[in-house]
């Protein structure tokens, strides 16, 4: 007979009583501010590229996205992005910089296992689900568009 005989429900109530609260309001505000700033930066880059280069709206947008991806990758490489993520939560995960982080961090992590079985195999270990379900939903929407004739 074990000395501690609690049901899982009793124990999870005890955990709730002792667990330090996750500061949701603070996290939402931080996510809004940081996510917003990243978006403002993207918009600024877009306007800048339109202003200084002879580019179409689409091309300037693509270039702005590429710049953000580069910055996300760079900050990951410098070891800053994970600290930003701890501060901003969804604010730095959701934008395209977060996607860059999700690709570069496993690349750094698994480099020591080699280029094929390390980086090659593990590059999508974090971002994989996003790609998989991105493609699945694109397929469903595309199929619906064909059927309904949009």
């Amino acid at each position: 007979m074990k000395n501690i005989n609690k049901t899982t429900d009793e124990y999870s109530n005890l955990i709730k009583k002792n667990q330090p609260p996750v500061k949701k309001v603070r996290n939402i505000i931080r996510a809004f501010v940081v996510g917003g700033l990243i978006s403002v930066l993207g918009q600024g880059l877009w306007n800048l590229y339109l202003l200084y280069f002879d580019l179409s709206q689409d091309d300037a947008g693509a270039l702005a996205t590429i710049t953000l991806i580069f910055l996300g990758g760079l900050l990951t490489g410098l070891g800053v992005y994970d600290n930003l993520g701890q501060f901003a939560g969804a604010g730095s995960i959701v934008p395209v910089t977060g996607f860059a982080n999700a690709m570069v961090s496993p690349a750094m992590e698994y480099k020591q296992e080699g280029y094929i079985l390390g980086i090659g195999a593990k590059l999508f270990s974090v971002a994989g689900p996003v790609l998989t379900y991105g493609m699945v939903s694109a397929f469903i929407i595309g199929a619906l568009k064909q059927i309904l004739g949009g």
Binding site: T7, T8, Y11, S12, N18, G77, S92, S105, Q112
Partner: protein, 338 residues
């Protein structure tokens, strides 16, 4: 001389002595409040090697060698090495033992390995099967994170009750002569699982096992809190320590400040480390370099060291299983008599 087993507790007739110990830590532990106490700290997380795993192995090898040197042991004096680490196949410990011409018993009980190794080593000696045993354990932030969670640089937000794996290795030499402390009892714990499924909340997953082992130890020996100067848990962290206190209070035990947790102490109070340290290295480096010196100085006399392990498999967690916990305890005290 009759060997004694009471309940789950082994009572040593000839308590083996701790005749040497060494701790090796990483840069974060060095920055913490006990940084200056540890024997050696690497400033580089890979310990000068080309992979994190090799770095952890280097740390553990250094600790083992340090313990042998401090005890003045030649490898031929040592009958057995007992040890383990947190990685699959306890591969760090395997590589450490590969370098040694000494029989090796690999152990796994997650972060309770250090106490399991000390307790089993002492039991083998008291049982007459060995005269000198080495016990060691290691853990490493980088190698543990990548095996159990996400890449280090991935920007996920962790809750405040998550723990930070201690980068550290500790080794102890047990012998018959020359120590100032000895191991008098070993309580082997049962696996308890009260349904915690959050791998960020390992402290809560381990606390029931810790409470169970402490209560069992007291019942087996008809002892209580007044018999100990310190109840030292391994790596419950601040969250797990609170849970353990709650569980003990329900059984009318109020250890108060007598209960300390190596993981909660090792990094100090910085937010970066969440609820504090975790890992098999935590109890190993803190016992030998922080608390045994207190025993030697006479500040405290008897410690109940409770190693706590969260038996966490990332695969079974993904399958919806919960995290079993385990806790083993040894009594470490100042050598009495002549």
């Amino acid at each position: 001389m009759a060997k004694k087993l009471k309940g789950q507790t082994l009572i040593f007739s000839n308590p083996p002595q701790i005749i040497g110990h060494t701790s090796v830590v990483g840069p974060e532990e060095k920055k913490g409040p006990y940084g200056k106490d540890f024997d050696f700290a690497y400033q580089d997380v890979k310990c000068g090697k080309d992979s994190w795993e090799k770095g952890e192995k280097q740390m553990a090898s250094d600790a083992l060698k340090g313990a042998m040197d401090k005890a003045g042991l030649d490898p031929s004096d040592v009958n057995l090495i007992l040890g383990g680490d947190l990685l699959d196949e306890i591969i760090t410990a395997d590589y450490v033992a590969r370098d040694q011409d000494i029989p090796f018993l690999g152990l796994y009980s997650a972060c309770a390995i250090m106490v399991e190794a000390l307790g089993l080593g002492a039991a083998l000696m008291d049982g007459g099967f060995a005269d000198c045993v080495l016990a060691f354990a290691s853990s490493d932030y980088q190698t543990a994170e990548r095996q159990y969670r996400n890449p280090i640089e991935y920007g996920a937000q962790y809750p405040p009750y998550k723990q930070y794996t201690v980068t550290g290795a500790a080794a102890y030499a047990l012998g018959w002569l020359g120590g100032q402390t000895w191991i008098t009892h070993f309580t082997a714990g049962k696996v308890l699982d009260l349904g915690v499924k959050d791998p960020n909340n390992m402290g809560s997953a381990m606390a029931p096992a810790a409470a169970d082992t402490i209560l069992q130890h007291f019942a087996d020996l008809e002892r209580g809190l007044p018999d100990y100067d310190l109840i030292l848990s391994g790596d419950l962290g601040k969250m797990g320590k609170k849970m353990l206190l709650s569980l003990l209070q329900e059984k009318n035990l109020n250890p108060g400040k007598k209960l300390q947790d190596c993981g909660a102490l090792i990094f100090g109070g910085k937010e970066k480390y969440g609820a504090g340290g975790s890992g098999a290295g935590a109890s190993g480096v803190m016992l030998g370099n922080v608390f045994i010196p207190k025993i030697i100085k006479g500040e405290i006399n008897r410690i109940l060291l409770v190693g706590t392990g969260a038996l966490l498999s990332p695969l079974t967690i993904q399958q919806g299983e919960s995290i079993p916990g385990i806790a083993h305890a040894v009594v470490v005290e100042k050598i009495t008599g002549g």
